[in-house]
């Protein structure tokens, strides 16, 4: 993971669909070198995949919320059962398993506030694993790419 690898990762995070040639041109290296670098990064698991970013409102998901869930008991089967159900709900964009006051935090996206209510009441409240939950509306969401390797020990 040298400086060139870091630049490749940075550029592919910003635009994953640029051609290998364009990438190589930007970096000032030969296309074959660039291709080999990207392959190695992928083989080593540094690059995990490439994904299109979709606009949630355009997909009829105008309402977003963070929903924090507290389990009835902190046993593994309890939270695992809930997690495995929740990760298949189409409203859930990201699911975090966390420590602290709550056990699960979900980023959900739904068409409108009725759908959010229905999600909370029909999906969440009906689960036996769930003790309590609270939700907060998301007004804005800003994503950063992982730009630099912090304090690398290499």
């Amino acid at each position: 993971m040298d400086e060139l690898d870091a630049r490749i990762v940075r550029l592919l995070q910003a635009n994953a669909r640029q051609s290998n040639r364009e990438l190589a041109r930007t970096l000032g290296i030969a296309p074959s070198t660039c291709l080999e670098r990207v392959r190695t990064l992928t083989r080593r698991g540094v690059i995990r995949g490439y994904h299109a970013e979709v606009d949630l409102p355009a997909m009829n998901r105008d309402v977003q919320a963070l929903v924090s869930v507290q389990m009835r008991r902190h046993s593994r089967p309890i939270y695992e059962a809930f997690r495995d159900a929740a990760k298949n709900w189409r409203e859930v964009i990201t699911l975090f398993v966390v420590s602290g006051e709550h056990d699960i935090v979900m980023h959900v996206a739904v068409p409108d506030s009725d759908s959010l209510h229905s999600f909370l009441v029909d999906r969440l409240a009906t689960r036996q694993e769930v003790a309590r939950f609270q939700s907060s509306l998301i007004f804005q969401r800003i994503h950063n790419n992982v730009l630099d390797v912090l304090d690398s020990g290499d």
Copy 2:
């Protein structure tokens, strides 16, 4: 946004770097048709970009946390000043502006627990806009693609 568009979005979310030809083959349409569809989806803002997914541990970010921040006062200049500072911090992967008990929730990723402590004490606690914050460690993070349009009214 018909069924074909939805299938294109779904496939590009799963793998943004497959060739247009492969995409067309999967969908059973001509490459030129597929290209035009993707262009239209991009022009309409449904597809916002393509990004490489990076493995955080491989980038020396073994510790992740959700950090919830409460502002001193709920005025626009206060939270905007904080938000604009926070979105440039390299530890911050995603920043949510929310309603409810907290005003900002940040997903942060750092090398180790020392770095997390330093982030909380040196970056957060020193900000005048911040009244209180609490953090919870992330043990697992599961991301879902937006598979289907929910209850589309089209």
